[in-house]
């Protein structure tokens, strides 16, 4: 198993290197210049001397090949560089935002799992019943509804309902406080975004759980288990669900990895200072160093999550053995 993990991690290196090269090239293909945006965005006349100095300070006066080689060398040394926009170390910028994104992602994942697996399973077990129809409608609505729209709607709902009840509109706080500083205040900030994201997430997972369960429940070994006289609860939980969860776990993993950097609009709607918002800012400001590091972070999260998912397979299905 250890050997397998090490091999997988080593195999991730070419993936990371390829991603690094790709993101470096793509960022340079976007026309524009961080210095021009910074020095010419308003309230000043663009000054060529200041522009030249800015380019020099950021290393943008170097040939592109030199910039690329420097980037690769620094990456190999785990030096992600300095943000071209803020001048802060990139790791510092990321560490500031990562807890927010992680918290929403974890909470949304928990909500999604708690909703999707029981409802998806019940939906499959009670196929074509009223419950099944309700769950399917819920799931399809969740897939069809963008989470940012749901976020906006939920805020409007909260504002209007609170205004109707108390006479003055209420809104969750917009200034983030970490969980360990004030858990209740923190939850009042992240709960709504986590629910809106978790609902969409659960909808996809619910559909997959249902279809996987339907497939498994028609397998011969389920019939055998029932023929042996096992309780239906044991048949479902131990024999059917565990097997049906294989594709579901993959989906949960991919969705979780996506949430780390993909909550761009949701983070904006709820004013959360997370990784997704930072990535958009970095691209808008043409902060190539920060954007590269963030994309690499997302790639790394995908690689790790995929590995964890593969390891979970072995736990879920004893026939799978890694060596």
């Amino acid at each position: 198993m250890h050997r397998y993990i090490i091999t997988r991690l080593l195999l991730a290196l070419p993936t990371l290197a390829g991603a690094a090269a790709l993101v470096f090239i793509l960022m340079r293909l976007i026309p524009g210049d961080v210095c021009v945006i910074r020095l010419g965005s308003g309230g000043a006349h663009l000054n060529q001397d200041a522009l030249d100095l800015c380019h020099k300070q950021l290393g943008l006066d170097q040939p592109i090949v030199v910039q690329f080689l420097t980037y690769l060398k620094n990456l190999a040394l785990f030096d992600f560089g300095i943000s071209m926009w803020s001048g802060n170390p990139v790791w510092q910028e990321i560490l500031l935002r990562l807890p927010v994104s992680l918290e929403v992602a974890i909470l949304a994942t928990v909500i999604a799992i708690l909703l999707a697996i029981p409802l998806g399973t019940l939906s499959a077990l009670k196929e074509n019943s009223a419950l099944d129809h309700v769950v399917r409608v819920l799931a399809i609505a969740g897939i069809a509804t963008p989470s940012f729209w749901l976020g906006i709607m939920s805020l409007i709902l909260v504002l209007n309902v609170s205004a109707a009840i108390t006479g003055s509109p209420w809104l969750p706080p917009i200034d983030y406080v970490p969980l360990w500083k004030d858990p209740l205040y923190n939850l009042s900030i992240v709960l709504l975004p986590a629910i809106t994201v978790g609902y969409r997430y659960s909808a996809v997972t619910m559909r997959l759980t249902r279809s996987a369960m339907l497939e498994v429940m028609r397998e011969d070994y389920i019939r055998t288990a029932r023929a042996k006289g096992l309780l239906e609860q044991i048949v479902v939980n131990r024999h059917a669900l565990k097997n049906a969860l294989l594709p579901v776990v993959t989906l949960i993993g991919i969705e979780f990895a996506f949430l780390i950097g993909g909550l761009v609009v949701t983070e904006q709607v709820f004013n959360l200072n997370g990784i997704g918002r930072l990535l958009v800012q970095a691209v808008q400001n043409q902060d190539n160093v920060l954007a590269q590091a963030l994309v690499m972070l997302v790639v790394l999260v995908f690689v790790i999550v995929n590995l964890v998912v593969d390891l979970l397979y072995a736990w879920l299905d004893p026939r799978i053995r890694y060596s």
């Binding site: 020095l39 006349h45 060529q48 200041a50 001048g87 200034d175 709820f270």
Partner: protein
């Protein structure tokens, strides 16, 4: 509840049409914490000398002092400046070439150290002529300055190369914060990440991209100020967040400006729980034809583009949905140097008879062989007001048979296309802080003398007219000189087409008092005068 001053009829030279709240006459209450939203993610740095974004001002201006400024009790004035760190506004000597400022005594930086004329002089030296390796974003504003010297601990002398009316407004620039000499000499980049000022508030915490919190500076030199115990600025780049925050009283005010739709929504829903202040904005969209590209090298085509636009009818209609309102020329409409309506009506695009104007546009296009011309309008991917204005202009051009496609791109590529000259016509903006017509109109000079101009034309006559205007110190003569320069820019050569000026709408909860709107979101942001009536 509110009284608006129409700039055309009032004739006061005020750009602002301000809604006054009578409660400002009340005596201010001390205490309380003001929470406000900053419409940005985070400033790139806290060093106002090097930054150009309002995010730096809205975040950190309350922690700094400046030498002079627009009056906080009348920031709408385009001609009045008052002391902040100086004791009285000096009378220039040496034929208008020397200004001697006496600096207040007893002013302390937030670390308790004494602020002297040495700090003021060095800060200004870094702005005017930065040492190697230091960026000063507004260095070009101060080309008239020969030297800045501290004679002693209470006197700073500015010597100019030539007398100009541009100097005092430039000196009141809100980015010209006074830094501590000792730190500046040791590490000029220190102020990028740290704050050490002498302003009305002291920094408590800064959470990058989240919030910035300050507390009252008990040693503040303006007696009785600030009124607030503290301030909390929350970064919120999305407009819906800011509007909802004001609605739910999570924030009391947003200082940059909201669009008319947000104003209408909030006033409808909150009634007298909010106030609105509005003002013409020292920002304007301009259309820049690329003179290097055919047929925009032909003045007849450029003139036709201007003649097609019905400014007088378009501005009020557009004002209902976009942050624009007042028709103007190259000078901010509230300034004494601005064109009157009668003067504007002489320029193409401002004729009172739009049918006649469009007929002339068609004639000129036919004469230039450019009937049914197809081209691209380069625009910035910013809703307010760029995309609204761009869409309106294209509609106007369609009326003379032009087929124009709007190419909307993010800020980076927008700048990049303009700088590379890879566009047909660009919709850009001339956005300034203190109303300083001499400097503000530098934008219309040819690219070779003003690199921020993207029309790529050469026009020695324009340069000559500008220089004559720039060095004229008699107000009446300067006004005439400005008209000549404006006519050359907007009529004779139609180098640029000036569109209606932006309109600033600021909303706050009704208990927020003491703050007055100015023609720029960069101005009057030290928050010292604000108090809470609750």
């Amino acid at each position: 509840m509110s009284v608006r001053m129409n700039i055309w009829t009032a004739g006061l030279g005020l750009a602002a049409a301000v809604a006054f709240n009578p409660a400002w006459a009340e005596s201010p209450k001390q205490g309380g914490m003001l929470t406000y939203v900053i419409p940005a993610d985070a400033p790139p740095s806290f060093d106002a000398h090097r930054e150009t974004t309002y995010a730096t001002i809205h975040s950190a201006a309350p922690y700094y002092s400046v030498l002079i400024r627009v009056p906080p009790d009348n920031p709408a004035s385009t001609t009045e400046f008052v002391c902040d760190l100086c004791t009285e506004m000096p009378k220039p000597t040496d034929g208008g070439k020397t200004y001697t400022f006496k600096i207040r005594e007893g002013v302390k930086f937030h670390d308790g150290s004494k602020l002297t004329a040495q700090d003021v002089a060095l800060s200004w030296q870094y702005i005017v002529k930065p040492p190697k390796g230091v960026v000063s974003a507004r260095q070009s504003f101060y080309e008239m300055v020969e030297s800045v010297q501290a004679i002693d601990d209470t006197t700073v002398v500015f010597k100019l190369k030539y007398a100009t009316t541009a100097f005092l407004p430039a000196l009141a620039d809100p980015y010209s914060w006074i830094y501590k000499k000792e730190i500046l000499e040791k590490d000029p980049h220190w102020f990028e990440k740290n704050i050490m000022g002498s302003g009305p508030f002291k920094l408590v915490t800064y959470e990058v991209g989240q919030s910035i919190k300050g507390e009252r500076n008990k040693d503040y030199y303006h007696k009785g100020l600030p009124h607030l115990d503290g301030i909390l600025g929350i970064f919120a780049d999305k407009q819906s967040v800011r509007v909802d925050a004001i609605k739910a009283d999570r924030a009391s005010i947003e200082f940059r400006g909201l669009p008319p739709s947000a104003r209408d929504q909030l006033t409808k829903e909150l009634g007298d729980k909010v106030w609105v202040q509005d003002s013409d904005w020292n920002c304007g969209n301009i259309l820049t034809p690329n003179h290097q590209k055919k047929p925009f090298d032909d003045v007849r085509v450029r003139k036709a583009l201007a003649l097609a636009i019905d400014q007088w009818k378009g501005a009020p209609a557009l004002a209902k949905i976009a942050n624009v309102r007042t028709v103007g020329g190259i000078v901010f409409p509230g300034s004494p140097l601005a064109a009157t309506k009668a003067e504007l009506e002489q320029y193409p695009g401002f004729w009172p008879d739009i049918e006649k104007s469009r007929a002339e546009a068609k004639r000129l296009l036919k004469e230039a062989g450019a009937e049914g011309l197809k081209f691209e309008l380069l625009n910035r991917n910013v809703d307010q007001p760029y995309k609204f204005v761009g869409t309106w202009v294209i509609g106007e051009w369609k009326k003379i048979g032009l087929q124009v496609e709007q190419k909307v791109v993010p800020t980076g590529p927008w700048f990049s296309n303009m700088r590379a000259g890879t566009f047909d016509v660009a919709l850009e903006a001339n956005c300034q802080s203190v109303v300083n017509p001499v400097l503000d109109t530098g934008k219309y000079l040819p690219h070779k003398v003003f690199p921020d101009n993207y029309g790529y034309y050469d026009d020695p006559k324009s340069i000559e007219l500008y220089e004559a205007m720039q060095k004229e110190t008699d107000p009446a003569k300067q006004r005439i000189a400005m008209r000549a320069y404006e006519k050359q820019t907007m009529d004779t050569e139609v180098h640029e087409i000036v569109l209606p000026y932006w309109y600033r709408i600021v909303m706050g909860r009704s208990y927020v008092k003491g703050w007055k709107i100015s023609p720029s979101h960069y101005l009057n942001q030290d928050l010292a005068n604000i108090w809470l009536d609750k």
